[in-house]
């Protein structure tokens, strides 16, 4: 068997500053974790993809989960909150508050939830870059 695949690579970046900053920044603002690490192209592509998916979801009149009624609501809200500040700002502006009445609005709801889940993946990727698990 080979050595452990997730062993952190010894590097200058790994022992400087707050190690969770890219993770938290990436969660709050899509792509920000990669920007902090100087990965400008990756960060831009991630930000464009996630923000576009979220915006298209709202444009399709997708609903933002605001309260938990059942287990599906809990999962949906967890997905929505993955978009960080996008979710909080949208709620503050009253976006996505209308009930789902059309098929397209149902697509929009899924777009918003998946945008949040993708943002969590992107934030964890930024954390892995920061710790040296990924190059």
């Amino acid at each position: 068997m080979s050595t452990t695949p997730n062993k952190p690579v010894a590097g200058k970046k790994s022992d400087q500053g707050f190690v969770y900053l890219p993770l938290i920044a990436g969660w709050l603002v899509p792509g920000a974790g990669h920007f902090l690490l100087g990965k400008w192209i990756r960060g831009t592509l991630l930000a464009v993809s996630i923000v576009a998916m979220f915006a298209l979801g709202l444009a399709m009149q997708g609903k933002l989960y605001t309260s938990v009624q059942d287990i599906l609501g809990l999962l949906g809200m967890a997905g929505d909150m993955g978009t960080g500040l996008l979710y909080l700002v949208s709620r503050a502006l009253g976006l996505g508050s209308q009930p789902t009445q059309t098929t397209v609005a149902d697509y929009g709801k899924v777009f918003i939830v998946v945008a949040g889940l993708l943002n969590i993946i992107a934030a964890v990727d930024a954390h892995n870059l920061r710790t040296g698990r990924k190059s």
Partner: protein
């Protein structure tokens, strides 16, 4: 209000999800692009196949 067709929604969803998958799951730009394209084809292809299966079941 944005009203895409079901297939347009599939294409948009696949494009954005594949972009994030490609960037986060691979290390080098070339492998990222290849994996992203692979995911995109799988997303769209599976949607088309499942659509035909559902059509045949409904008949």
């Amino acid at each position: 209000m944005f009203h895409p067709s079901h297939f347009a929604a599939v294409l948009l969803f696949s494009l954005f999800a594949s972009t994030v998958f490609g960037i986060t799951m691979r290390d080098t730009p070339q492998r990222m692009f290849r994996y992203g394209a692979y995911c995109f084809i799988l997303f769209v292809g599976s949607a088309i196949v499942l659509s035909w299966v559902m059509l045949l079941i409904a008949r």
